[in-house]
């Protein structure tokens, strides 16, 4: 069954220069394996399209039922250089939570 990622996870996002950091957390830690299986670097790349110019890295925090993504060159130059309204990537976690995932595997 396809559902938006927001049905099983929440998150928070921030910045380090032109890198967007997106933390995605399973509401229920038992569903962490679904996150780990569904929210891959490739799918995140496809989701954001040309908004992300650089590479994407994924880190696993099973102790928190969470994944941490680093999206490089994703904030229009970042900080004060950026011309984006969301220059600090505050809404990038919500953007990722729109992604459709398959909860059945």
């Amino acid at each position: 069954m396809k559902v938006p990622l927001s049905t099983i996870a929440h998150g928070r996002s921030g910045d380090k220069g032109d890198t967007s950091n997106i933390g995605i957390i399973a509401f229920d830690e038992a569903q962490y394996p679904i996150l780990a299986r569904e929210v891959t670097v490739e799918r995140v790349k496809a989701h954001f399209g040309d908004m992300v110019k650089g590479k994407i890295e994924r880190y696993e925090l099973p102790n928190l039922g969470a994944l941490n993504f680093l999206l490089h060159e994703a904030l229009g130059g970042g900080g004060t250089l950026s011309l984006r309204v969301d220059a600090q990537g505050k809404t990038m976690s919500a953007a990722l939570l729109r992604m459709e995932i398959d909860v059945d595997g």
């Binding site: 929440h10 998150g11 928070r12 996002s13 921030g14 910045d15 380090k16 220069g17 032109d18 950091n21 933390g23 957390i25 509401f27 989701h47 954001f48 399209g49 040309d50 908004m51 880190y59 696993e60 925090l61 099973p62 102790n63 928190l64 039922g65 969470a66 941490n68 680093l70 229009g76 130059g77 900080g79 004060t80 250089l81 011309l83 984006r84 309204v85 969301d86 505050k90 809404t91 976690s93 919500a94 953007a95 990722l96 729109r98 992604m99």
Partner: protein
């Protein structure tokens, strides 16, 4: 157990928070984080205009406001409010609150040492791009090394009521009282990592007590009176995150998970001047209403380097907006964007970046957003950035004419021509640790 409260997540955070933390319940230390990466450059400019400025100007009046309570309740304050002029900040605090003992931590400011460092082949290349500092040498506004918790702990050991630092790390503000009171050594890496992670959790103030929380945000109680965070730290490196009773907000494991992931890089290697903390070792357990216990934290030794934050002038930018109403609001805004871009090309103007967003459609989520079906209005927002100030200024004159000479039903031009702003950019670098010698001065 000691209680360490954070009353300021950035310069501009809620003015009432630090006062309420002292008034509304017991705390031992109040920490206040004032510095973001570009703040130092703003402060440097203020100092150049007036050598008595260059620090967070909200800080001395705040201390004056709480000075009596600090003494009555034995609360010490630790803040990186000193900016590029910690001594001037300390003198102003003393002028407004003469009963308090103030200590400053110096040595982070390397602006005047840059040429000396470069001559000795300490290149300060950009950590992210590898570019040499010589590319921007003549445009540098400020340069500071990030200071860890030990110099702050040394300042606390003088018996100061107020410790003022320049560019200390955010996490060091929380770790310093633990080092001071629990006598932690610089090789107690698991303990230092625990204190560092406690600092990371509270460094953004109410972001760990229900602010900016995505879980059940509609039902988080009394956000108008949100309580700011308190660390109840134990000598064994475990701690509880809580807030004063009868304050708003919420602290749960979900809330803390969001903040733990905020501005996080590689979770196994959270590098600070004091240690390298491992976020994959964190164990959270609920310990009652608005109380979460944090344990299990592991860490390792710090690196041979300290991070340096350099700010420099990097051209000009301007951003302008117009609003288009139904019908065809998005199509009109898109047409207006094309017209502006063509006019800029016809003028022969070149920019390093020109960027368009459509509010009501893709400003926040870009390609991940779906186009709206039939929006009542769309705001067009166009920005340009470049080193030619004249070109950026010319751009600011190209938006308002569209109200008369572009697609129909444009409005929202009441603010007039958008301002041209200087771009101050951030240059992260590394400096060998032994190049930075801090010292503590007590201002009598």
């Amino acid at each position: 157990m000691i209680r360490i409260a954070n009353g300021q997540g950035f310069w501009g955070d809620w003015l009432e928070a630090p006062v309420r933390l002292i008034e509304q319940g017991p705390i031992d230390y109040l920490i206040l984080d004032y510095l973001a990466e570009v703040t130092m450059s703003i402060l440097q400019k203020q100092k150049e205009e007036n050598p008595e400025l260059g620090y967070a100007r909200d800080f001395p009046p705040l201390i004056a406001r709480v000075a009596k309570l600090m003494r009555d309740r034995d609360v010490k304050v630790i803040a990186n409010a000193g900016g590029v002029n910690p001594i001037a900040c300390a003198r102003e605090v003393r002028r407004l609150a003469p009963q308090l003992k103030v200590a400053v931590v110096l040595g982070d400011d390397i602006h005047s040492r840059l040429d000396d460092l470069l001559e000795r082949n300490i290149f300060l290349n950009n950590m992210e791009t590898g570019q040499p500092l010589s590319d921007i040498r003549d445009r540098i506004l400020s340069a500071n090394a990030y200071i860890g918790a030990f110099p702050l702990a040394e300042a606390l050991a003088t018996g100061a009521d107020v410790v003022i630092a320049g560019r200390s790390t955010d996490t060091a503000l929380a770790l310093a009282p633990m080092v001071h009171r629990f006598d932690w050594k610089d090789t107690d890496w698991n303990l230092l990592a625990a204190g560092t992670i406690a600092g990371h959790i509270v460094e953004c103030g109410a972001q760990c007590t229900g602010g900016n929380c995505q879980v059940d945000w509609q039902n988080i109680p009394d956000m108008a009176n949100v309580g700011y965070p308190i660390i109840e730290a134990d000598p064994d490196g475990t701690f509880v995150i809580t807030k004063h009773k009868n304050t708003g907000g919420r602290i749960t494991t979900d809330v803390l998970k969001e903040q733990l992931l905020y501005e996080l890089g590689d979770p196994a290697e959270y590098i600070t001047p004091d240690c390298v903390a491992d976020f994959t070792s964190i164990h959270l357990t609920s310990a009652g209403t608005d109380r979460v216990r944090v344990s299990g934290i592991q860490g390792g030794p710090p690196t041979m380097f300290l991070k340096v934050s350099i700010s420099y002038s990097d051209g000009w930018k301007a951003l302008g907006t117009l609003v288009y109403s139904w019908p065809d609001a998005l199509a009109k805004a898109k047409a207006a964007d094309s017209i502006v871009r063509e006019r800029l090309r016809n003028l022969g103007l070149e920019f390093e970046d020109i960027y368009t967003e459509f509010f009501g459609y893709n400003a926040c989520h870009g390609p991940a957003a779906r186009p709206p079906d039939d929006p009542p209005e769309i705001q067009l927002r166009i920005g340009v950035r470049g080193h030619d100030r004249k070109a950026v200024d010319r751009f600011t004159r190209e938006l308002i004419p569209l109200v008369l000479n572009g697609p129909p039903t444009a409005t929202g031009f009441g603010e007039g021509r958008p301002p041209v702003r200087e771009v101050v950019a951030y240059w992260p670098a590394l400096v060998p640790r032994d190049e930075i010698e801090t010292r503590v001065e007590v201002i009598e």
